[in-house]
Symmetry: C2
Subunit: 640 residues, 2 copies
């Protein structure tokens, strides 16, 4: 018989026992923690590549450290019995201090533009409500049926085919208020019947389901007005911070796919509760839901196997738009809604990209425009009304603070801006002592360090041999775990019991992340044959983009070298596009045409991409400033 | 606190304890029995109008007999502590001998014509199978999706909108046998995908769900050949023998409606198991199911409230054809099937009637024809291609043996034929001593008793005052429970411990039952203005019709007075029609046209019907023989 061991989880702060779990000997401590309901994050997807799942053994025998433990946590921490719980088999009864993810209070998610309204867009959501006065059948000789009496009060284009749900509710409702009934149709199909007059209550929800964040918006479908907005961290994150980790988690395992699906659908249900409560409307009056998201999130929401989305050639199971009754998904809190998924382009170019295009109108643009979505799994769109190109640009979790030693999300305590003169000055979210650095801080720090000569264009930290550096800056360069690091905030000023560092490895991670995006931009420019100066506008979208210092982003070559006035942050374009598809069936059908028209460029299959990527990893390029100067001259000339 | 009592149910034969049930004092013993899983029949719907639910108290205190107990069971039985369990509150702990319905072995249900085959009908079931060789997507640049690869191998009319079920199964199946896949479509919608070649396995099932009996037929949809047939008593019968009882049982009570629905759907699932096993085919290869039945059975199968079908003007909730995925109904044993319900005409004229019309082709007939379905809830159709009339003709359970003292279904021990010369000679199903009389026996007995003068045209049993009667016959007229009765089989020859009787009341029941049908026939003749002699053919359908002696049926005025060669038994026309709609979408759409065209005559709303009904109750009419004779003369003249 397999031996079992008991693991006691304690609160690392107070030592209070949180849970005890008996598991077969050899089980991973991470799994035991998750089963016990302790949401330890596993950002790298249990590959021992990050520190998010670390725990500390308080008592009991534990397994010797693995190579990953030592690499990620360092020799010292390993001696203090810190371990990566994803790499840690339970060998005997033990007591473990588990660190659930930091509180997300103050976590910055851009939930909406804050100003969404239908504006110039015509409202044609496809949802119509009719307050009718129908009679129950009266004549025994010339028989009709309940539904025929209803249909006789509705426009002739109303479908005669009914759902069982409507038929099952019909007889009671028809007779409840002497036939005074409100009937709701979506695309001429009856989807709801209610006693009395509710014809003015027509609502819809738009959701952008991202890898990291999920945002939603409750909209009045009569006026297009946004009534409430909601946002949260994607609750699947504990199963992996990036898409590939989550695909790997559920690969060829229907039960785990179901786990991921239940997590996100529960979140959407909660959103509906929160938003409708905020706006004082009934969830039963939500009739249309539009969901956008990357291919993986799209498939998971629908319960479709993502196994092959994670294997070359990364093919989706379905790309066409999908419309299903909420009850089938199920999104139980909006029982009467039809849920519309916008179409997909490719395995790593999802419905969110299409929504972004709808929102930014690139597909109608006269001049060449560039849309960059900086997210865990970013995308780049380049083109105009004549031709549209798209590629996937997977930055990974670096901009979310993943795989960075003191990286964290944009929450209280995160360094978000950096200034360097003869010393370093950090701006921290919430004005508290710094405990880490978030993605926007990382970009800003790198730009300023590059400018000050703390790092060189290849990303190497300053060494004595290079030349002089102000003393206070050079003193900040220290040894750390066998590598080198730059002290952003010394220990005595930091909010943790050590200095807040930016390691050489962190800088390499940033280079890989930004090269994924800028390499994609360069590749699309090459395919389309468009030099930098021909790009009329760069649009940065996505929740993260709002916090990025555009000048710094250009300085480190995350964005192309264009005059700053040509670069705009356009907000959460995916959500905006979803909202447009929500209030307009014309926009929703436009999405299908765009998806069929856009050309997908698979970077990995392009021989030339390798060189482009190596180039894109560099922080600056000889001659860059010259190009900008020349262009400004050219502009001045054409204006004259 | 309410007092509880324990009821112990014992086997009336062996005294073995079957079950013990603790219930609140005052609960009805019938309910306790049903809850304990003992299927005591309640043919009259708990109204104390029949004897089907009788039990015997073996020990313990019981309530005094009700008026119904005494009327139905007689003084003697009540003294022996027999009771109607539907009228019997449990007052104290007791032991009850419960009599579940007699074994139905040998019960005659006409499940099919035995000879059904597509014949001249063209096969266009709407189901198509395609064995294709699809490739999983290969090119990372020009992305497609799994479903697009499948669609590229299918006819262009195939719908691009897929069910979640198909999308969820697709990725694994596409890659299982290197893309060698069989795709099944119904009306151009993909409904199944399988690995390998199964293109020759296309099956369907037709069901006729009657109030009393349920029959089914498994058909090969490539050839139209019937592969297996199944039949059973409708398992809802314990909640009432006739429709009104079942409607009353579930009226305004969703849970009880659900009980009825679960019973019938379980039965259909069992049928699918039995039939597919008999024919050695997989239930997964059933792709189309056609269900016909009266309005009540139709609604119950679909889970639609029947409350108002039971109240004037008896309006259905829906009359249009309904098509639903089997999984939605659910009929779980045929997970891939689409279930088609034929249309309905009125609350008491259901899809079974439409199916009967399709099968008998009255709607295309040049001359006037009459279709009579003799069932618990019969229907009458009269007309031709020019005009079609229909009415409901509820005979009640009499022909099934209900509400008749020694009535029983057509099982072993039932008198099915009667001959009378100077004495009575009974033919018994299974050639055993008689234990009761079935519907066909009842009709035959009445006809022969009428002919012999044992009853008069008004249905009165012979009395001394009327005139002489052969001694052996007059000796058979006895007193019984305050009324009079005719001994069909004396006690010493019978299979029960008493004589098998036909009481005066039984004859009255027969008159009411046959008048319901013949009154309907006369009413439709009057509305259409058609004298008897203009009816070219009388078609008798329904399971029961097969066993009826047509001559006797005419003799007692159950059918119109026409030459016998014009009267035909056409089998279970409802099932045949369902089979035709199964193999032919043309027939299925024809059903809709017929349903829209046919005129419903509501007997209860017609002033003149009262007189017609009184007339129809009589066994013979002065001048009847004369009419027939005249007609024969006319025929002879026209032939000459």
């Amino acid at each position: 018989m397999a031996k079992t061991v008991a693991i006691t989880f304690v609160d690392p702060a107070g030592g209070r026992i949180i849970a005890t779990k008996v598991v077969p000997q050899g089980s991973m401590v991470l799994d035991a923690a998750l089963e016990a309901g302790i949401e330890v994050a596993a950002t790298c997807g249990r590959r021992g590549r990050c520190r998010s799942c670390r725990v500390k053994a308080i008592s009991g025998e534990i397994a010797p450290p693995t190579l990953q433990d030592t690499l990620q946590l360092g020799q010292d921490a390993v001696h203090e019995r810190f371990r990566l719980s994803c790499q840690m088999p339970a060998v005997a009864d033990c007591s473990i201090a588990a660190m659930p993810p930091k509180s997300e209070a103050g976590h910055q998610i851009l939930s909406d533009m804050g100003v969404f309204s239908a504006g110039e867009h015509e409202i044609d959501s496809g949802v119509r409500k009719f307050y009718i006065h129908a009679k129950a059948p009266q004549d025994e000789n010339h028989q009709t049926s309940d539904i025929e009496e209803i249909l006789s009060c509705l426009p002739p284009e109303t479908s005669r085919e009914q759902t069982l749900d409507v038929l099952r509710r019909l007889p009671t409702i028809l007779r409840a208020e002497l036939g005074r009934i409100t009937v709701t149709t979506f695309r001429n199909q009856i989807i709801d019947i209610e006693p009395g007059d509710t014809s003015e209550r027509i609502y819809g929800m738009a959701f952008d389901v991202g890898t990291t964040s999920v945002v939603g918006s409750l909209v009045d479908l009569r006026t297009g007005e946004q009534l409430a907005s909601v946002s949260a961290v994607n609750p699947q994150a504990i199963y992996g911070g990036d898409l590939m980790s989550r695909i790997a988690y559920a690969q060829f395992d229907a039960k785990k796919l179901q786990t991921l699906r239940a997590r996100i659908l529960n979140q959407l249900n909660e959103f509906i509760d929160t938003a409708t409560e905020q706006a004082s409307v009934l969830p039963e009056h939500i009739y249309k839901v539009v969901i956008v998201g990357n291919t993986c999130m799209h498939h998971i929401c629908l319960g479709i196997d993502t196994s092959y989305v994670g294997l070359a050639p990364y093919a989706p199971v379905v790309r066409d738009p999908v419309v299903v009754p909420a009850s089938e998904l199920p999104i139980k809190r909006a029982p009467n809604a039809r849920v519309c998924f916008l179409p997909i382009v490719a395995g790593f170019v999802g419905a969110d990209t299409i929504a972004g295009i709808i929102a930014t109108r690139i597909h109608e643009s006269e001049g060449i425009r560039l849309l960059v979505d900086i997210g865990t799994n970013g995308e780049v769109v380049l083109g105009s009304k004549d031709r549209l190109l798209v590629c996937s640009a997977p930055a990974g979790p670096t901009f979310e603070g993943g795989q960075v030693k003191h990286g964290m999300r944009g929450a209280v305590g995160a360094i978000e801006k950096v200034a360097i003169d003869d010393d370093v000055h950090c701006q921290v979210i919430g004005d508290v002592p710094a405990i880490g650095i978030c993605g926007s801080g990382l970009i800003d720090a790198a730009a300023k360090m590059l400018d000050a000569g703390v790092i060189d264009p290849a990303g190497r930290l300053w060494r004595q041999a290079v030349g002089p550096l102000p003393e206070k800056l050079s003193a900040r360069i220290i040894k750390d775990d066998g590598g080198r690091a730059f002290v952003l905030v010394p220990r005595d000023e930091s909010g943790r019991d050590e200095a807040v560092l930016l390691t050489q490895n962190d800088i390499r991670q940033l280079q890989l992340a930004k090269a994924a995006i800028y390499g994609g931009v360069m590749m699309l420019q090459q395919v389309l044959g468009v030099p930098d100066e021909s790009i009329e506008e760069v649009m940065m979208s996505g929740g993260f983009g709002n916090y990025v210092n555009i000048e710094s982003a250009v300085a480190i070559r995350l964005l192309p070298p264009l005059p700053l006035e040509r670069i705009n942050y356009v907000g959460n374009a995916a959500l905006l596009g979803a909202q447009l598809a929500l209030i307009s069936e014309t926009e929703r059908s436009r999405a299908f045409n765009i998806a069929r028209r856009i050309e997908h460029v698979a970077l990995a299959t392009r021989m030339e991409f390798q060189d482009i990527f190596v180039d894109a990893c560099r922080f600056s390029k000889p001659g860059r400033r010259r190009v900008v100067a020349e262009e400004q001259t050219a502009n001045a000339a054409s204006t004259a």
